[in-house]
């Protein structure tokens, strides 16, 4: 291309010139001159980051006298003696129903054999305590209709139903994490029947029901009539000293009647009464805190009231999280807004809450909850909304770091930036009662006994619950 016009030639040249300039200017290399220049910077001219980890934290435990334990899928049965929580006992109530079609029994040739319960402890089922111990399980028949009292809308952990005499019992050890081939685990019972626990029941009851089947009684043909007559069953730990284990037995249990069908060959037969009415199954939990640090726990004094708070100083300088017993920890920060009043404070960067268990309060037997949720709460001491983390925005579980070798390194960590940011500017008179609640997350909140004993601020700095606030500082403000 030949450009004859001088002016156009100039513009063409300049365009090329500028294009080349922009391309080449992107080629800038950067040297490494260390921190040369640092000495020549004005002091206090730019924002800094200041960390404050001395914020006062009031640790309290809230208590609700009962929690909904119905329909969790597990019969939580057992008893243990906890150095912190006292004696904890759990038993379960449930119902079984006759089969939809009954076998034809000929009383002239068929013979009743026995009756028993079949329970299953599946891999992954909850357990808490010492799995090396034998636990005695006792089966009783409920002695009343399993119906909710008036004005109640669910089965709670405080409902105790009357039961009849013991129908049967067994003492069994359940190993929940027995290694098997291929690196997997399986549960195994000392009865040598895999994950199955069998309890033989009273033959008088078995013969009675067998006769009903033979007679085609309406009681076994109609499930409503059956429940009015049979009511339900209870599985509870045996009396005496706690075995220190509570197991979560799968609710898909069976009451089985064995009989023999005698013909040319004698054949073993059975009639299964399977688990029914999942929502009626619930666990009854009792505690005896006598002599334990938590004995001073404040209890509700009225029928309807906010869950009472108990300051940590009153109950062993700790906060207690175990939702099965209605225990949650409330944290309040009475002087938090003083951070915003600092002369150099110009903005919050982030805030982190570190919850440390009381040293020695946990072990591989007395396990910590793998997940502890954090919720907002107010003067009503109820669980509010889950507190989202700053980055992901999702609910937090504490990201437990568990270190049995160095227990002091065991921590739950939460991003509480959103909460602190709102509290710094919270003008409400109730701001001091606004705080955070630590609670077990569903579904474990009513199906696991893992508990957290959180150290309050009477413990050394490295062993206690700590709020670390990072803020942006600029001083002087010019």
């Amino acid at each position: 291309m030949t450009i004859h016009n001088p002016t156009k030639k100039l513009l063409f040249f300049l365009s090329f010139f500028l294009t080349a300039l922009f391309i080449l200017s992107a080629c800038q290399k950067q040297p490494a001159l260390g921190d040369f220049g640092n000495s020549y910077i004005d002091d206090n001219k730019s924002a800094q980051i200041v960390v404050v980890d001395t914020a006062t934290i009031d640790v309290s435990t809230t208590f609700v006298d009962s929690v909904s334990t119905a329909g969790t899928g597990y019969l939580m049965v057992g008893s243990y003696n906890d150095d912190w929580l006292g004696k904890v006992t759990s038993r379960s109530f449930f119902q079984v129903a006759p089969p939809p079609s009954l076998p034809a029994i000929d009383p002239r040739i068929d013979t009743y054999d026995s009756i028993g319960m079949i329970f299953f402890f599946r891999p992954g089922s909850p357990y808490y305590g010492d799995t090396t111990q034998y636990q005695t399980y006792v089966v009783n028949q409920v002695d009343t209709l399993m119906e909710l009292p008036p004005f109640n809308n669910g089965w709670f952990s405080s409902y105790l139903l009357p039961t009849g005499p013991d129908l049967g019992s067994t003492s069994v050890r359940i190993e929940p994490n027995r290694p098997v081939s291929n690196g997997t685990i399986a549960s195994n019972t000392s009865q040598g029947t895999g994950d199955t626990v069998r309890i033989r029941l009273d033959d008088q009851l078995g013969q009675t029901i067998y006769n009903m089947v033979y007679n085609k009684s309406d009681t076994v043909k109609n499930s409503t009539k059956w429940l009015r007559w049979f009511h339900g069953l209870s599985l509870s730990p045996g009396a005496g000293a706690p075995a220190n284990i509570i197991n979560g037995i799968k609710d898909s249990c069976i009451m089985r009647i064995y009989y023999r069908e005698n013909a040319l060959f004698s054949t073993e037969k059975f009639i299964d009464f399977e688990f029914t009415n999942k929502n009626v199954q619930y666990n009854y939990v009792t505690t005896d805190r006598t002599g334990k640090p938590i004995a001073g726990l404040n209890r509700p004094t009225q029928t309807v009231q906010p869950p009472p708070l108990t300051p940590s100083a009153q109950i062993g300088h700790a906060g207690y999280v175990q939702s099965m017993e209605g225990l949650n920890v409330k944290l309040t920060f009475p002087y938090l807004n003083a951070i915003a009043l600092r002369r150099d404070f110009i903005g919050l960067l982030r805030a982190q809450l570190i919850v440390r268990p009381v040293p020695g309060s946990f072990s591989q037997i007395w396990r910590l909850p793998p997940q502890v949720g954090i919720f907002t709460t107010d003067q009503h001491n109820q669980l509010g909304a889950p507190l989202p983390s700053l980055g992901s925005g999702g609910a937090q579980t504490g990201s437990l770091i568990q270190d049995y070798f160095n227990p002091l390194n065991t921590v739950y960590t939460y991003d509480v930036t959103n909460f602190v940011a709102s509290q710094l500017i919270n003008p409400s008179p109730a701001a001091r009662q606004t705080g955070l609640m630590l609670a077990i997350l569903p579904p474990a909140e009513n199906s696991a006994f893992n508990r957290l004993i959180a150290a309050d601020q009477s413990y050394p700095v490295t062993q206690r619950i700590t709020l670390t606030v990072y803020y942006i500082s600029l001083f002087p403000h010019n």
Partner: protein, 424 residues
């Protein structure tokens, strides 16, 4: 294409050049004072060690002295722009083996001029005054913690430029007086980003800006004539008047989401540019060989007490610069006119800068070589200048920069407003 379109294009070019001027090599001393002063003119005198207070040209814009514009040929319009590539090698205790060099390429200036009347030359343009370009990291220990979980990333990026209108008038065929009315403007920016040492994410950043503006006047004088049949001389002098630049500081603090959490508009104050004096001389023999010499002195001591520059632990002191150059011009007679075809230049320079750091006034010295070609078939002239210099010292924990500049200067010239008459 008519002249108005050319003007529009050149205006666009000027605006564009403003942005490009802000880029520059890493200059560790540019964080001090008003940045690293640009001693270059990027014109015909660049190959002469920027020696040109006593230099006149009928084609090129000698911005070293505003009195020179009256030397342009009658009705001659000329425009110059320049690009400079720089390579710097750093040495000294602070320099880490991982990075001892830097290189970049930048746009430097845009200047236009015309001989508007028989004795009156005028010029406008945009030229750099100083630049800031430096970045470094410093580990940061969060206050209240003994963990260095953060890092200061300091960056200095700013530039001070001058838009000027210069006029000169010739008296008695041997005296030219000129005034350069410059409007100095720019922004000194220091940004401090506190960032995570783990992933580089920003925690907070503080941007300290100082916006500068005011007029800065430079007066020039040139006396010139012949000594005998073969010698021509030019004696020049320049004086820049002390000027108080209005400094408007602004501080802005951003949070990690780059949302402004504090924005302070602090009271205005003044930063002074000093009285500056310069003298120069050139002798030309047979219109072929030219010897030049310059000396400049800037009285920064005189404004020291008035100024409050960013930073600390360095001093502003009076600066001076001396340079010499030699030029050989190759000319040819065409149609009863003498036309320059090319020229070769060399120069040396030595300066004490206006900064004294760690008790040492920073020196800058070097040599330059230039070659220029004037096209006979087009209105363009090309000038390529190589410069090698040493700035700073390795003493007292300072950094020495060995730099090489390669500048390309483009000149366009045309005779305007002829009204059909032939150019004489």
């Amino acid at each position: 294409m008519n002249q108005s379109k050319i003007i529009c294009f050149l205006t666009l070019l000027s605006v564009t050049s403003l942005g490009v001027m802000a880029q520059n090599n890493f200059q560790p001393y540019s964080q001090m004072g008003i940045g690293q002063l640009d001693e270059g003119y990027y014109n015909r005198t660049s190959g002469l060690g920027e020696t040109g207070i006593g230099y006149r040209s009928n084609r090129f814009l000698i911005t070293n002295n505003p009195a020179s514009f009256s030397g342009l040929a009658n009705q001659y319009f000329t425009m110059e722009t320049a690009i400079r590539g720089t390579f710097i090698s750093y040495s000294g205790t602070p320099v880490q083996p991982a990075g001892t060099q830097s290189a970049d390429i930048t746009f430097r200036k845009l200047v236009m001029g015309i001989k508007a009347a028989k004795h009156w030359g005028t010029s406008i343009g945009l030229v750099p005054v100083s630049t800031e370009n430096y970045e470094f990291n410093v580990p940061y220990f969060i206050q209240g913690s003994n963990q260095a979980v953060s890092n200061h990333f300091y960056s200095y990026h700013g530039s001070v430029n001058k838009a000027f209108w210069a006029n000169s008038y010739e008296f008695f065929h041997h005296l030219s007086l000129g005034v350069d009315a410059g409007y100095v403007f720019g922004d000194l920016n220091q940004k401090d980003i506190l960032q995570s040492t783990a992933n580089g994410a920003s925690f907070t950043s503080t941007s300290n800006d100082i916006y500068l503006q005011n007029l800065y006047l430079t007066y020039g004088l040139q006396l010139y004539g012949r000594i005998g049949k073969h010698l021509e001389y030019v004696i020049g002098g320049v004086y820049s008047q002390k000027s108080a630049l209005l400094a408007s500081p602004n501080k802005q603090v951003l949070n990690p989401d780059s949302v402004t959490i504090q924005n302070f508009q602090n009271p205005d104050h003044y930063l002074y540019l000093p009285n500056s004096y310069g003298g120069g001389l050139s002798i030309t023999y047979n219109q072929k060989y030219t010897w030049l010499a310059d000396y400049r002195y800037s009285d920064w001591n005189g404004v020291q007490a008035l100024n409050s520059y960013p930073g600390q632990d360095y001093a502003i002191v009076s600066s001076e610069r001396a340079s010499m150059g030699f030029e050989v011009s190759k000319k040819k007679n065409l149609y009863n006119s003498t036309v320059e075809l090319s020229y070769f230049q060399s120069g040396v320079y030595y300066s004490n800068s206006y900064l004294a750091v760690n008790g040492r006034q920073l020196r800058d010295m070097g040599v330059s070589l230039g070659i220029g070609v004037n096209s006979l078939k087009s209105p363009l002239a090309y000038n390529i200048v190589f410069q090698y210099g040493i700035r700073g010292t390795t003493d007292n924990n300072l950094i020495r920069e060995n730099y090489m500049n390669l500048s390309f200067i483009l000149n366009f010239g045309a005779v305007w407003f002829t009204k059909g008459r032939k150019f004489d």
